[in-house]
């Protein structure tokens, strides 16, 4: 169980690590190979089965032909016997006639197939024979098997198993293997009938001629002939069997019915086909070694293997190409999405490929487009929000100052200080003119300093010159641009918190200078300064408002917030202050020329 779980985990791991192309290729190939092997094996075994059947049919056909020939041969021998009996023996009287001449004629006409023809009396005496006329002294025909069988079954013709003919005295000392055909006959002697035996010895070569050179298969098949008891009558390697150098499964084959059989003999599988030779009960046995057949199949199997390998190769190649064709658009789409994730703006999502992939790429393209529009909208909304906030912050300055100034003008006018009121109103007019700046939020630093100067003019008049102010600026700085109305709130704080209690010795210094890409405007006063905690609290937008005699630090925070909203968090105010050591507020701005400043202007600004 654990093994299968581990296998499943490995499989899942492999599956997750594999590409779509690999999965497609492997799946296609595996399915195709399994199908092909299954089909191939089915065909192979079907072919084997058909071949076996064909071989069996072929063996049966050959055996049928051999059987026919053998049957004809045996029938011709039986006809010889019939002729000898019905045309010679029956027609002659032994007392008056000699059988030998007629038997000799019969023998001569069939001498290729015959070894001898002989007639014996029922007690085994030789009555006539050809071609040899004399019996050996030592033989007793009446005890020979062929004689006894003929006497026992008088109606039949009997075929013996092959044996050496030992009856006749041969001056050449020849011993010949024969098959004896014997039958009981009725002999006529002096008109009376007596029993006897007719013996026709067939040449063994006649049977051999029929059975030899029979080609059952190209793989070493052969045919042999046995009698009903399994005794070998003919075998292509008969003498080897007789010599004990080879053996045959003849005794088992004697028990087979006609037809094809599979047998295992001496460790070899063989297909054995049996055909009974009609009258005699002999059996023709065809043997085809299956091993040799499988040797041929081995070649076939190799060819099959070659075809399978070739097909697998083609499948792998085609599947790789096909899966690549299918997955290439997906891969391109994947790459495009990765580029999108990396922040690349121009990404080609037109990946082509099948309909589904095309649809997916169109959907992603549409989604990206929608996201971009949404993001633009969000940015726009953020910008608008920022500008609105700026406007709100900016709008918090003017009414407060205007009220105080106008209050001073009223006071001056009531006290007859008309000239001073004119100066204050003139400065106030210029102050507001710069404040308006035709609606531009970005103005030159020179204007901003001028704006501060007019403000100081007004305030000095209001505070009866309790303090002096010096404004200096590097020449290159005045042409740069800044967010408008950022110095005045600082000055306001310096005056309210630093100069309000001065006795004419108050000093405010405004210095504008550039450092690299940054511009700094420092507002320093020699007022009482502030403790460190208060300094930290002034620019903290989350902190509560600072309580003081006048103001609550809102001006500082407004300026700081406006600068950061306009230029980012790296810009803004820095307050350097210590109690009794004065305060320096440093305004940190980017160095913007007119072109750069245009980028920060609100829509509709000139």
């Amino acid at each position: 169980m654990a093994f299968f779980r581990s296998l499943l985990q490995r499989w899942n791991h492999l599956y997750r690590r594999s590409s779509i192309q690999m999965i497609l290729s492997a799946s296609f190939t595996a399915v195709a190979v399994v199908g092909m092997v299954f089909l191939g094996l089915t065909l192979f075994f079907r072919f084997s089965s058909t071949t076996n059947t064909q071989m069996a049919e072929n063996s049966q056909r050959v055996l049928a032909q051999v059987n026919l020939n053998l049957d004809n041969y045996l029938r011709s021998m039986m006809r010889v016997s019939d002729t000898a009996y019905y045309r010679v023996i029956k027609d002659l009287d032994l007392e008056q006639d000699d059988l030998s001449r007629d038997l000799e004629l019969l023998y001569e006409s069939n001498r290729d197939s015959l070894v001898s023809i002989a007639v014996f009396s029922s007690d085994g005496r030789l009555i006539a024979s050809t071609p040899l006329a004399g019996l050996k002294n030592s033989v007793s025909p009446q005890w020979e098997p062929w004689f006894l069988t003929a006497m026992e079954k008088i109606e039949n013709l009997h075929f013996s198993t092959p044996h050496v003919q030992n009856l006749f005295a041969d001056p050449d000392y020849r011993y010949r293997w024969v098959v004896s055909l014997s039958r009981q006959v009725e002999l006529t002697r002096s008109g009376s009938i007596e029993g006897g035996v007719l013996l026709v010895d067939m040449s063994f070569g006649g049977i051999e001629q029929i059975c030899k050179d029979v080609n059952l298969s190209a793989s070493g098949g052969y045919l042999y002939l046995i009698d009903g008891d399994g005794e070998i009558i003919y075998h292509p390697r008969q003498q080897l069997i007789y010599a004990g150098l080879q053996s045959e499964n003849n005794l088992t084959a004697a028990g087979y019915r006609d037809g094809s059989h599979q047998e295992s003999f001496q460790g070899r599988n063989r297909q054995v086909t049996v055909k009974t030779v009609g009258y005699t009960g002999w059996k023709l046995v065809g043997v085809v070694p299956m091993d040799n057949m499988w040797d041929n199949y081995g070649q076939l199997l190799l060819f099959f293997l070659f075809v399978v390998l070739f097909s697998i190769f083609l499948l792998v190649f085609v599947n790789l190409r096909l899966s690549e064709w299918i997955t290439a658009p997906v891969k391109r789409l994947d790459q495009a999405v990765k580029e999108l994730e990396a922040g690349q703006q121009e990404v080609d999502l037109d990946v082509g490929g099948p309909h589904e992939v095309e649809h997916l790429s169109h959907s992603i393209r549409s989604m990206v487009s929608t996201m971009r529009h949404l993001m633009d909208d969000i940015i726009e909304q953020e910008e608008q929000k920022r500008r609105s906030e700026l406007d709100v912050l900016q709008s918090q300055i003017n009414p407060h100052f205007l009220y105080n100034t106008l209050d001073s003008v009223v006071w001056m006018t009531e006290n007859g200080r008309t000239q001073d009121a004119v100066v204050m109103l003139t400065s106030l007019a210029r102050f507001f003119r710069i404040s308006l700046s035709r609606g531009n939020s970005m103005i030159p630093i020179a204007d901003e300093l001028d704006h501060a100067r007019h403000y100081l003019t007004i305030q000095k008049m209001r505070y009866k010159n309790k303090f002096s102010a010096v404004i200096t600026a590097d020449p290159c700085v005045e042409t740069l641009y800044t967010l408008k109305l950022i110095v005045q709130p600082i000055l306001e704080n310096a005056i309210y918190h630093g100069m309000a209690y001065a006795d004419g010795d108050g000093e405010i210094q405004i210095r504008a200078f550039r450092e690299g890409g940054d511009v700094f405007i420092e507002v320093s006063d020699n007022g009482p300064g502030m403790p460190e905690e208060l300094v930290a609290q002034l620019l903290d937008t989350g902190a509560p408002s600072v309580s003081g005699a006048k103001g609550s630090g809102i001006g500082f925070r407004n300026v700081h917030r406006r600068i950061q909203l306009a230029f980012g968090a790296s810009y803004g105010l820095t307050i350097l202050s210590e109690p009794d050591a004065g305060t320096t507020v440093r305004i940190h701005l980017p160095a913007l020329d007119e072109e750069a400043a245009r980028h920060y202007r609100k829509e509709g600004e000139q």
């Binding site: 092959p162 070659f306 390998l309």
Partner: protein, 319 residues
């Protein structure tokens, strides 16, 4: 074409081409084209009819094993010198193996030893393993001689005379049989005489004189030719001595059937010939099974010669 496609297409295609070439090349064809082995058969008998059954066995083996046989026989039987020359000639001719029926193992020892260094020598009838012969195919000569001696004991009374025909003078399997038989007979109180051909007269000429000088009670011939000659020689004798011997020709069978020969010891000559060539081929191909067990022999008398097994032994199914 991309390298990847090249790898995917070309490498497997080349592999398949190699496989196809391997398949197209039929390994069996190369084996079939091999030149057949040449095996020379050197018999000691000049008369080939005496060993026709063995020859048929050899030819059967040659057909089965793809061997080309060259049969050689001396112009005069049992001539060791001529056999020696033939042996040297065959070795020089580059024959793959020689099946030798030596007439005298002592005289042929050196030649066989020399021949064994260059080719395979298989001996029949006489064992020459000491001289380097790769294998011996034949009966156990001592056992055969003893069996014949024992057979004679039944027919010859104590003090009877038994003539042992030393038809192949010299040291060989025949003499081994003779010595074993003599030992049995002498041990059992029979008188043993050895009848040998002289230099001037062959056995066929010398035998009548030997028999006439002192007719024996029994004769033992230890090989087919001598048995055949002895049978012919005693046919007219009266009383006729009992004749025993080794051999299984048609003539011998006829003499056995006529009662001229009392009993024979027969080996399956066909099997001997077959096994000799088989052993030679195995030795040349360095296959296992070169050593063959001594062949069986059977004592056959007139009464048993037509027993089915003896029919197969004495009368090979030759075609």
């Amino acid at each position: 074409m991309k390298r990847k496609i090249l790898l995917q297409l070309v490498v497997p295609l080349l592999s398949l081409c190699v496989l196809f070439l391997l398949l197209a090349f039929d390994p069996g064809q190369a084996h079939a084209d091999e030149a057949p082995l040449e095996v020379s058969i050197l018999h000691r008998e000049s008369d080939s009819t005496l060993w026709s059954a063995a020859r048929q066995g050899m030819e059967q083996a040659a057909a089965d094993m793809g061997v080309e046989l060259r049969f050689l026989a001396p112009s005069v039987s049992n001539q060791a010198e001529e056999q020696e020359n033939l042996l040297s000639r065959e070795v020089a001719g580059g024959t793959d193996a020689i099946v030798l029926v030596p007439s005298d193992q002592s005289l042929l020892a050196e030649s066989v030893a020399a021949a064994s260094t260059q080719t395979v020598v298989i001996t029949m009838e006489t064992e020459m393993a000491d001289s380097g012969a790769a294998a011996f195919v034949g009966v156990d000569n001592v056992a055969l001689g003893e069996a014949l001696g024992q057979a004679v004991l039944n027919g010859v009374c104590v003090d009877g005379t038994v003539l042992l025909l030393n038809s192949v003078p010299g040291s060989n399997g025949i003499s081994a049989r003779l010595e074993a038989a003599a030992q049995v007979l002498e041990g059992a109180g029979r008188t043993v005489r050895i009848g040998s051909p002289s230099k001037a007269l062959g056995l066929s000429e010398a035998l009548p004189a030997i028999l006439a000088a002192d007719p024996p009670d029994a004769i033992i011939a230890f090989e087919a030719d001598a048995l055949d000659l002895a049978a012919a020689a005693i046919q007219g004798m009266n009383p006729r001595p009992l004749l025993y011997g080794m051999g299984a020709t048609d003539t011998i069978a006829a003499h056995l059937e006529q009662g001229v020969i009392t009993a024979i010891a027969a080996q399956n000559e066909f099997a001997a010939g077959y096994l000799a060539v088989d052993a030679a081929v195995r030795a040349v191909r360095r296959e296992a099974g070169q050593d063959t067990a001594p062949l069986a022999y059977t004592l056959v008398r007139k009464e048993t010669m037509y027993h089915p097994d003896n029919q197969k032994l004495l009368f090979p199914v030759t075609r």
